[in-house]
Symmetry: C2
Subunit: 477 residues, 2 copies
């Protein structure tokens, strides 16, 4: 029996999706897309073969894998593959893809297709898709649901994506505290299936007010005659719908939670959040910090039309251009000095460059520490002292190296000494602002990651030019 | 009953740790650290009060919160707070902190303390700490364990941290396929407690070969007389100990897993991995990418001694210095041109800067897409075409703006036109290498995030200077 049974098991090698093959097949089928869409049979046997292979591969994909495939295909191929997928999984796939890709998929679908896709979704899932769906579709979809579900959709939609209320679900299994574990087990057996991730059952009173939770792990080892009240845990980690999802995710991570109850101000149980949503939050948070530091506004469809990408990136490019212009004017103020010692023009980018690099190291470390809650304002001074120490060591060390090289290159000891001084001072400037920029941003309620890399580079560029050219003007002319 | 019960519940507001207060208390107690360590009573009533408050706060902390507190304290305060914590949780805390901080904590402990700390740990946890512990402690700790546990420790230690075998645990609950669900429930009741995160029971044959898994969700709703074989799932997602943990984490994320079995080549069950470990992997992966892009070697203790930080950062600073030197020599080659038109010196950093900024946007997006498995080599060409389109639009747009500004500023139309051309060309260079650098790195088996920001900036700096000064020399002189 063993071998047969486990033939259905999947290890990583079998989970690997051959995106390249799908891309190849889809590309070859693009010329006959019109025929495929009309359901006409293809005359070319080779293309016909490619189509059957593609359909077989795509139908075999888990919705999450289908989402990955769609994200990684150029627009036309994406729509082709999307049309070939199993329609009953369309809703799940729409939930899994990123928002820009979701928009491209929804655009390609008719109203009937969309309605079919969202028909099987839970209330919280429908609420998640609703902002991207045409109004008529949402209206139609809601009209087939009962009163309770409509209220759940409305409740979920009244919260932002970054609030616990926006990602909670309503698949609650709840019991009273005054029954025995035996009764609970019999009650559970009446379900067709328990909700995903059920690791605890919520214990509520007659008004749905949360009393505690009964972990399944405890239920299974408990004496059947014990009362729930005597087994349940009351030191519950719980959330309110207004809570920040990133903080909730940190709590899940710290306390190794799988599910947690969401209650209103009267402690009434209204929903639950699950670890799979939290994993997505953690992944997205890391990505958002990375994108924000580089000055990308938001998640971008890899294959977005050119003008969409331009729009997503123009703000930080414009800011960068302004700061570069300031740096350029700083140099402009020293044109007289550069005319006299043209070597200054060649050496100044070194001073600016090392400051930018070092400042980015500091600011990245601080942004990371803030994201994990390790850094609060009161330690900023201590950290600043340390970073200034690192900057002094690096400045004297690397400054001396470059100073010596400049001395040899230009046969001018003065230039070498100015290099040492300028590099050390610019590293000190980079360390100071590398600590202070994120601390200030946080203080004023801004995301410390947002464009911090662009900002610190701006400071170290203008500052580096000013320090180097200023010192050179004072001491060398 | 309701109100009393839930008084033990914790929402986010109550979970918030007052790190600032702990820092304040610890700082005030530092002068009497010697007395505290000796257990002497403090003569100053105010300090005595501070000590009691600190002990109370620290004893109340969950091990994961204690870890966060320790990470965010300067060295001396960290050791003080560490000594005041509940000794029975020392092992858990050591597992939670980052490696550099763990080292500082272990250094402050004696052999007896360390032995006591690791005494309660599971085999996999002991294996995780072992590389950081003194040899004698590991030897002592192993000598008190039975044969099976020693074998487990050895097995876990034979894998790297980035392999599934390095993070699996051995808390397995397994059953045979030919018993009824009723028997399983009775069997489970004999446990004192089930392992954390138990969402499924592993079904094995007499040789421990995995046959399938019995999800608890199914067990609870199944008819008690049904055979396990008829309820169990056989399309199990399973892992091998040599598997890459990041790939395993992606599988957990895609398939919303809570636990998964680890089997050897003969499909024999040897361990399991749990979602809480995977959450850590996902968090660390995002952080590592961010740190690597900025050119930080590894996770750094915020309060590391200055020389440790210098060591952690010097490699990329040195590389940056080399590339800056190359850029400087490029400028040096055009010193004649700059002497004639000194405005070139002021304008050239604008060309280099916008290239660096735009290149970083492109490379960050590509690195992120590669990390989530959305990008494979075959789409590189398609992406390159798109990025070149974005670069052309941005180059002509922002190039014209800066070209016009330069024209007005220096009253020289030629300089303006050279600016437009140079900015467009440098953006095209940034787009090309922003796509190709990570694709190449990946092709040669390197981490695409590693120092990619430093590399792209190097190219756009030298390239920008060369293009701008070259065009100026050809057309303006």
């Amino acid at each position: 029996m063993s071998a047969q049974n486990l033939s259905a098991a999947k290890d990583l090698a079998r989970l690997n999706i051959d995106i390249d093959r799908i891309h190849e097949l889809a590309e070859s089928l693009l010329p006959v897309y019109a025929q495929i869409e009309l359901g006409e049979s293809l005359s070319d046997p080779e293309l016909n073969h490619a189509l059957s292979e593609l359909v077989a591969v795509v139908h075999d994909l888990h919705p999450a894998d289908m989402a990955t495939v769609l994200e990684s295909l150029p627009l036309q191929e994406r729509v082709l593959v999307w049309k070939l997928g199993a329609p009953e999984e369309d809703g799940e796939v729409l939930l899994e893809v990123s928002e820009p890709v979701r928009e491209t998929l929804i655009e390609s679908m008719g109203q009937t297709e969309l309605l079919a896709a969202v028909d099987d979704l839970d209330a919280d899932e429908l609420a998640e898709l609703a902002p991207d769906l045409p109004h008529e579709v949402v209206f139609e979809a809601l009209s087939t649901r009962d009163e309770e579900e409509r209220a759940q959709v409305a409740a979920a939609m009244s919260f932002e994506d970054d609030q616990v209320g926006g990602i909670m679900d309503f698949e609650l299994v709840s019991i009273r505290a005054d029954v025995t574990c035996e009764v609970v087990l019999r009650y559970l057996r009446r379900f067709d299936s328990l909700p995903d991730h059920t690791d605890k059952i919520f214990v509520v009173d007659d008004d749905d007010v949360l009393q505690g939770v009964l972990p399944i792990r405890k239920l299974l080892v408990a004496d059947p005659d014990t009362l729930v009240a005597d087994v349940m845990a009351t030191d519950v980690v719980l959330f309110h719908p207004e809570d920040d999802v990133e903080e909730a995710a940190q709590a899940f991570e710290r306390y190794d939670l799988v599910t947690a109850p969401v209650v209103d101000t009267a402690q009434k149980l209204i929903g639950r959040i699950t670890v799979d949503e939290m994993v997505d939050v953690i992944r997205e948070e890391g990505e958002a910090d990375m994108l924000n530091m580089a000055g990308l506004k938001e998640e971008e469809d890899l294959f977005a039309p050119i003008m969409d990408s331009v729009k997503n990136r123009w703000v930080w490019l414009a800011i960068n251009l302004c700061t570069a212009f300031v740096a350029s004017r700083v140099i402009g103020a020293f044109e007289g000095s550069i005319e006299k010692i043209v070597a200054l023009a060649a050496l100044m980018p070194i001073v600016a460059g090392i400051g930018g690099n070092s400042g980015n190291q500091t600011i990245t470390m601080i942004v990371r520490a803030m994201a994990t809650g390790q850094l609060t304002g009161s330690q900023a001074l201590h950290l600043l002292r340390k970073e200034l120490g690192v900057a002094t060591v690096n400045g004297l060390l690397w400054g001396s190296v470059m100073g010596a090289v400049s001395w040899i290159l230009y046969g001018n000891l003065g230039i070498g000494l100015v290099m040492v001084a300028a590099m050390t001072l610019n590293l000190l400037l980079a360390a100071t602002l590398g600590v202070l920029i994120p601390v200030w941003m946080d203080k004023f309620g801004r995301d410390p990651a947002l464009g911090s890399s662009v900002l610190i580079t701006a400071v170290t560029d203008s500052g580096g030019f000013l320090i180097f050219l200023g010192l050179a003007t004072v001491f060398l002319l």
